[in-house]
Structures are given as C-alpha cells and as structure tokens.
Amino acid sequence: MSDHNHHHHCQTRTFWSRREFLFQSGGGIAGIALADLLNRQGLLEAAQSDTCEAPIPGNPFAPRSSHFEPRARAVISLFMAGGVSHVDSFDYKPALTEYAGQPLAESVVVRQGHPGPLMPSPFEFRRHGESGMYVSEIFPHLAKKVDEIAFIKSLYGRSNDHVQATYEMQTGQIRMGFPSVGSWATYGLGSESSSLPAYVVMADPRGTPKGGPPIWSAGFMPAMYQGTVFRAVGDPIVDLQPPEGMTEAQQRGRLNALAKLNEMDIAQNPGNSELAALISSYELAYRMQGCAPEAVDTSAESDATKKLYGLGDPVTEPFGRQCLMARRLVERGVRFIQLFSGGQGADWDAHSDLDQNHRARAAEMDLPVSGLLTDLKSRGLLDSTLVAWHGEFGRMPISQRGVGRDHNPGAMTGWMAGAGIQGGQQIGASDEFGYKAVEQRISAHDLHATMLHLLGMDHKKLTYRYNGRDMRLTDVHGTLIPQIVA
C-alpha cells in the first residue's frame, strides 16, 4: 500500500484545471454562484490552460499597471549582511594610508568600543574599465563589470546597530513592523507569475541575517505581500509537498470538497470578493507544488552557465546557486528577489579581522554576482531587471583593536546595475577618510524612491491606508537619484 502510494506521489503532478475547479467540482447552485462572481469580476478570461503560466481566477497577485512606463519589471536585491566596508570595497581612500596611525580629527562615536587610529585598507585598489572606477583587489570579477555599474558613494543610515540599520534599508524605518521594499513592489505591481510567490527571499544557508523575518515582512499590509523564503536545499518552500502516504487522488479529493464548501460559503456571503481571493490562494498553492521545484532546479543548466556562477567550487557554489535561481525566477515572472550574503555567524561584520573576513565574504559572492550580470545581459534580461547591491551600513576609517573596523552608518557604498542605468559612474562622495557622506547625501528613502521609479511607480502615489494615514514606503521623504533615473 505505502509503496504504491509513494510511487503515485512521485509521479509528475497534473494540474487542476480551471474548468474542473469552477464547474465540475462546484456543481449545483453554489458552483454557479462562484462562476458568476468570478465572471462579473472579469476573471474567467484566458484561464483554460494547464501550465505554470496560465492566469489564476481571482489571483490577488495578477499584474497591475504601473504609474508610468517602467524601466525594470523585476528587482534582484543583493544584501551584504553585517555591513560591508565601503573603504575596503569600492570607495578608495588614499588619505587612510597618508594619515595612517593618526587619530580621526573629531570626536568619534563607535558601536563596540576599542577605537584606534586611522587604518589603511589591507587591500590594494586599482582603476578598472573605460570609466576607471577604483575597485579593491578582493572583487577581481566585479572589477570587470564597472562600466555597467553605477556606484552610489554617499549612502548613509540612522542607526549603527545591525537590526535597526537593516530595517531602515529594507523598510525606510529603523523600527520593526513596516512593509519591506519588496512588499511595496508586489503590492504596487502584483506578479507576472501565477505559479510562484511574487516576492522571494533567499537567506544565506549559514543563517538568517540579524533582525530575522521582519526584514522581509509586509508590516501593516496583508501577510500575502511578505517575502516567501526559499530554502537552499530540498524543496524550496516549507510544506511544499503532501506528506508521505497521501496520494494525489486523496489530495485532489480533499481540495475538491474544500472548494465546494468554500463556494457554499461565498453563496452565503454574496459580494465578498476577498473570499474568491482566498480560494485562489489554494489554486496558487496547488500550482506551486508542481511548478516551484522546476523553477529552482538548476541541474538542466549548461555547464558553461554553471561555471559562470561558480557552481562546482565549494566557495562560490552556495551564493552562485542562489544567483542562478534568481535569474530563473526573473525569467518566470517573479517581481522581487532578495539574496543575503552573510547570516548569523558568518557575515560582513568585520570587528576583529577585516582582512580575513572581507577576503572570505568577497570570494563567496564576487564571481557569482559578476556571472549573474553576464548571464542576465546575454539573455537580454539586464535591461529590464534592476540589480541592487548594498549592506546595512559602512565601516569606520579607524581601526578597532588594530585589526578590525566598527560600524559606520555615516557613509556606505551601494551600487545599481541593469534597468538601463548608465554604468561606469559614481554618484555622491564621502569625506576624504570615508567617515561621513558629504556630497549628494543619499538616504534609504532616496534609494527606495529611485527603485520604485525604475519599476514605473511614483513613491508619493503608492500608498496603503493604515492607522488613519495613507502610508508610503518613503514616509514624507524621498528624492529620486537624478543620475540613476536619467
């Protein structure tokens, strides 16, 4: 019996067709009521195909039109958790060498203590590309991409604690409980996919970043807009497959009965369109069982593609696989994909050994991210995909215990590529030591306003009514970065 069931369970699942869902399973007056409800909402059109691409009636993630013509239809956000050092990556500061060993000439607030004198980067910087951008030696592959990257060298934050700083970069607020930028993007635009979550998060397999799930929460919006975590090994989504022993026929029988009973519920509550959305969530869930494993299965990719992302090398494979999964999700219409380099225990938080820490983290993500940019471009996806890279804060120009650097929200470097953005440019600047952002200071609100703009949305018009206010991702702030939106 169990052998038979297991065999059945492993067969390729067929999909529950719209016809069956709406008419066969419904039956009687209640089925007609649901069909009528969905029909009046114009949800039945073109819903007859049994593929991962067919639209789902009543899908709350159905694509919505943007405010104006978008530059990007998808975002890949690469978050360097723990706080990647700007002065050891892309913000070259020769003054740190010139004044090495001298105190920073103003009173300094540090997070952990043990402040030392100005400390040069242990890494060599060289100019790269036609644009001559400076890049540290620990990013040899990204160094070849500088002409496609716009570096933002004047980012700053409001907290020197990981959790609050991460919330700010994600939600615009240092407090917990606000919707993340991915939630706002999917709330505004829906998703092009009707078989995958609209907003996918992939944490570092070693652990989630400090701050945990509120980092990708929907805050005060409905929970469906929160990021869905895809796991690095096994089924990408928790509880994706029925337990051992439950046959497809049993599951289908239960779902058909559930649909009938829910339709009767709708008949008792006419005019409640949210109930149709709830029924469609079961349709999407059933679809995910069949479609999500294929979406993240990288085994059919060519050897050349696998090499591009560093698969096969234990150092680059974990982040490389996630970058490759991100490209596959973009191809399948997922709106917002967020990857974290670094989790609890192994992140960019280089308090005690900057040289060893940043070399190790950079070696893990440099080749995969460079490969992602190459692959997106060669497939014609880079122009319609925004790739954004940053951490939660920069690091201090002075040493900590002589070997590390403490947190520095006063200045950090981030970058953007794709979405038609002019590469090979640097925007804003920090002071000569990299202590504070000084020229064209750019906040998380400014970054978010710019990201929404690239997606075709006006950050002042994208609102969600909560607590008596039309809430915005950018609160009452946000200035577009002119060099990015030009």
Binding site: A223, P243, A257, L258, M264, A285, M288
Partner: protein
Amino acid sequence: MATQALTLMNNESVLRQAEVFAERLDAAAPDDLDRQVDLAYRIALTRTPRPAEAEVARGLVTDESLVALTHILFNLNEFRYMR
C-alpha cells in the same frame, strides 16, 4: 496566502491535529456518520452544517476518511478567518 494554504494542506502537525480531531469525533459518536458530521461543525465552527454542506462532508468521509473531513475543516475560509 498560498504559503499558509500549503502549510494547512501539507504540514505534518496540522494533519496530526486532524487525526486527533477525528479520533475525538469517533469516540463521541462511534459508527454514526450523521452525528460525527454534526459534531465536527459544532466543534470547529460553532454551528450546525447546512444540509448541502452535510452532504459534501458525508461524501468526503465515505470516499476517503473522517480525517479527510477534519483536515478540510481546518482549511475552510470560515475556520481560518473571523467574520
């Protein structure tokens, strides 16, 4: 949302609760399907089933099992959301 639907459909502990619920119904009304369905609705939804609902519920138990019914009750819109 779809991930909640997946958990309520597939999670082992949800299914275990459905089994416990079914055992409770079976102990309270052994071999009496009508009363089991009636009790199931009273306990899960604090109301009696409408005739059409009772028919679907009895059909599911006959086609599969009492656990199938208790599992589906945990997935009903009416069970999941306050009115």
